[in-house]
């Protein structure tokens, strides 16, 4: 009996951890879509890049906490460059082009990751403070997973404050509704697009560096995360922040429990769930999706 309670509490927390990570990455993809109407297929490659940056920074002797600050900023800077060079020229063309373009970027970036860091699996060392085990009401649990949850919550609160309380956030929210009006009011839309893209990439970078020590760092990590993110976006409804938050936690839970109970076919369960939700709720779980 005691063992069963321990198992369920640990699994429940694992569900939350994966859900939080998925949310962190999917929400970046989602705010970029909400404002620029672009799906960045290379988003998960940027997540992988964040993890690799983290690995390199930590192995060169930089403190892990400092790396958590530096790596996402490096990813965000790269994101800004990507936006200017690749996304901007295709803004006026049909959406198929931006999808194919970012697909090419994804293939390119995954190839570059393999070229620079090789095929091997890398392990990221975390400080002693994080690698210990703590007990929650007598149940042992690795502290690093709790740390991931804390980071996710802090980042989400920060994001909410940015969107709700600052001028830039206000302009972003307005631009997601009527971009012509915002640009008519004298706000530089180009700046908005770049900053939103960089912000989304930064979220992917944060997700990458904190996921690195948990899942280890390897070239395929982006691809796996990308598929999960799509499922989250489709279930939650593209462009809906509330829907994506709910669906990230849902997918995190189903995926975690699936890997415990049916191992091999866990992802198939997730796809079937997505299909069922699509049949009955084609606009996502809260019905706010802006599919175009």
């Amino acid at each position: 009996m005691q063992g069963e309670v321990v198992f369920w509490v640990q699994s429940g927390l694992n569900c939350l951890v994966l859900g939080g990570l998925l949310l962190l990455i999917a929400i970046g993809l989602n705010i970029i879509y909400g404002i620029s109407r672009v799906i960045n297929l290379a988003h998960a490659s940027l997540y992988a890049l964040g993890a690799y940056f983290g690995y390199t920074l930590v192995t060169t002797g930089i403190n892990f906490f400092l790396a958590i600050l530096i790596a996402p900023i490096m990813v965000a800077a790269l994101g800004a460059v990507i936006e200017r060079v690749i996304i901007e020229p295709t803004r006026e063309r049909p959406m198929v082009y931006s999808l194919i373009l970012t697909y090419g970027l994804m293939v390119f970036m995954d190839g570059m990751l393999k070229y620079i860091w090789g095929d091997a699996i890398h392990f990221v060392e975390v400080p002693a403070v994080l690698s210990q085990s703590i007990s929650i009401a007598g149940i042992p649990y690795p502290f690093y997973r709790v740390f991931i949850l804390i980071v996710c919550v802090v980042v989400m609160i920060g994001l909410a404050l940015l969107l709700e309380k600052t001028k830039l956030g206000m302009a972003m929210r307005a631009a997601s509704n009527i971009p012509e009006m915002v640009s008519g009011l004298g706000i530089n839309m180009k700046l908005i697009h770049v900053s939103v893209f960089a912000l989304g990439c930064m979220l992917a970078g944060i997700g990458g560096i904190i996921a690195g020590p948990l899942f280890t760092v390897y070239p395929m990590m982006g691809g796996e995360m990308l598929i999960s993110c799509f499922v989250v976006l489709v279930i939650g409804g593209l462009g809906s922040l509330k829907g994506v938050t709910i669906s990230a936690l849902l997918v995190g839970a189903v995926q975690t429990l699936g890997f415990i109970f049916i191992t091999d076919y866990a992802m198939v369960v997730v796809y079937v769930m997505m299909a069922i939700i699509l049949i009955f709720m084609p606009r996502g779980i809260v019905g706010e999706g802006k599919f175009e």
Partner: protein, 337 residues
């Protein structure tokens, strides 16, 4: 007025004659090609090229004519290939072309119908995302069902059926020369049928949906049904490719339906040019030779493929087919003046 009209007709009939002459010459060349090639290896390579050309063309039906993007179109070719492979390997009757061919295509359609029905319920972006999700699902299923599909080793030594009409046997699909002509024949039939479909009113509706979905729905067309039919046509052609592939290779492996394969098909279609049915064949040829060439130089061909896709979309969005068309139109208009 009358004279002008007759002159125009004259010019047009002359152009048609050139066009048909060109196609006849091409067919003549392709019929003689096996005798010009030095060894069976190249014959098999050209056969493979036809198959991938057809696959790229089927993606063009979806992307260039209907405006729907599928990132994992190779997955449907894989389903066709695996269906035939499993049928020929496990069912204890002499391998039969007439049973396995429709079976392979039928299974692809059976899977594509419900999946397509789900996919067209959402818009363009979500459609593309869903093709990736479902494609990965097929891949996972094939990869994990080790007992039937052989997992990541794939299936090898699949029996090759004979091509028979009644009691009269034309030869085995294992013979490179027979397989070459059989593939050429099937691909040609598929090309002509697809061309006819695209040029019919149905094709015009598909193009209308691509250009402006809202307008097409206001005219009174059921958008979802037309999208679904376009999707089924593309998947059916992909299934044909899969069946031909199994006959040609006698083996299937999961790598032919993973994300890289899906991207390769997309690349062939883009390179060849959207909205021209013959362009993707050129694209497939260029891609296969290009990949062969690059992979002899470096193992990091992904870097080059990604770069090539980006450069293509940025600087040559119409592909080779589009450029040739543009060139022909320009020549035509200068002649007209």
């Amino acid at each position: 007025m009358n004279i002008e009209k007759s002159r125009e007709q004259h010019v047009r009939s002359k152009e048609n004659a050139i066009k048909y002459g060109f196609w006849l010459l091409l067919m003549f060349f392709l019929t003689l090609l096996p005798f010009l090639l030095p060894n069976p290896f190249y014959m098999r390579l050209v056969t493979e090229l036809f198959i991938y050309g057809l696959l790229a063309m089927s993606l063009d039906v979806l992307l260039g004519y209907t405006g729907l993007l599928s990132f994992m179109h190779a997955a449907y070719m894989g389903i066709g290939a695996y269906s035939v492979g499993i049928f020929l390997t496990y069912v204890e009757i002499p391998p039969s072309l007439w049973l396995s061919f429709p079976l392979g295509v039928g299974i692809v359609l059976l899977i594509a119908l419900p999946v397509g029905w789900l996919q067209v319920r959402t818009g363009g972006f979500a459609f593309a995302l869903l093709t990736i999700a479902f494609g990965m699902m097929y891949y996972t299923l094939v990869w994990k069902s080790r007992d039937i599909t052989g997992g990541d080793d794939g299936m090898i030594g699949i029996p090759k059926p004979d091509i028979t009409i009644g009691n009269w046997s034309l030869g085995s699909t294992g013979d490179p020369l027979i397989m070459y002509y059989f593939t050429l024949f099937v691909v040609l039939i598929c090309f002509l049928v697809t061309r006819r479909i695209i040029q019919s009113p149905f094709g015009a509706v598909l193009e209308g949906i691509r250009e402006n979905e809202e307008r097409a729905s206001f005219i009174g067309y059921n958008i979802r049904r037309f999208k679904l039919l376009g999707w089924l046509l593309a998947c059916c052609l992909a299934g044909v490719c899969g069946v031909l592939f199994t006959y040609l290779k006698g083996s299937v492996s999961p790598t032919m339906m993973d994300a890289t394969a899906g991207g390769a098909v997309l690349m062939m279609t883009l390179l060849g040019g959207l909205g021209t049915l013959w362009g993707p064949f050129l694209g497939a040829a260029l891609f296969i030779f290009g990949q062969d060439f690059i992979s002899t130089l470096t193992e990091h061909w992904m870097v080059f493929m990604g770069l090539a896709v980006m450069l293509l979309v940025l600087f040559m969005p119409k592909g080779i087919g589009g450029m040739i068309n543009q060139f022909l139109e320009k020549r035509q208009s200068t002649k007209g003046e």
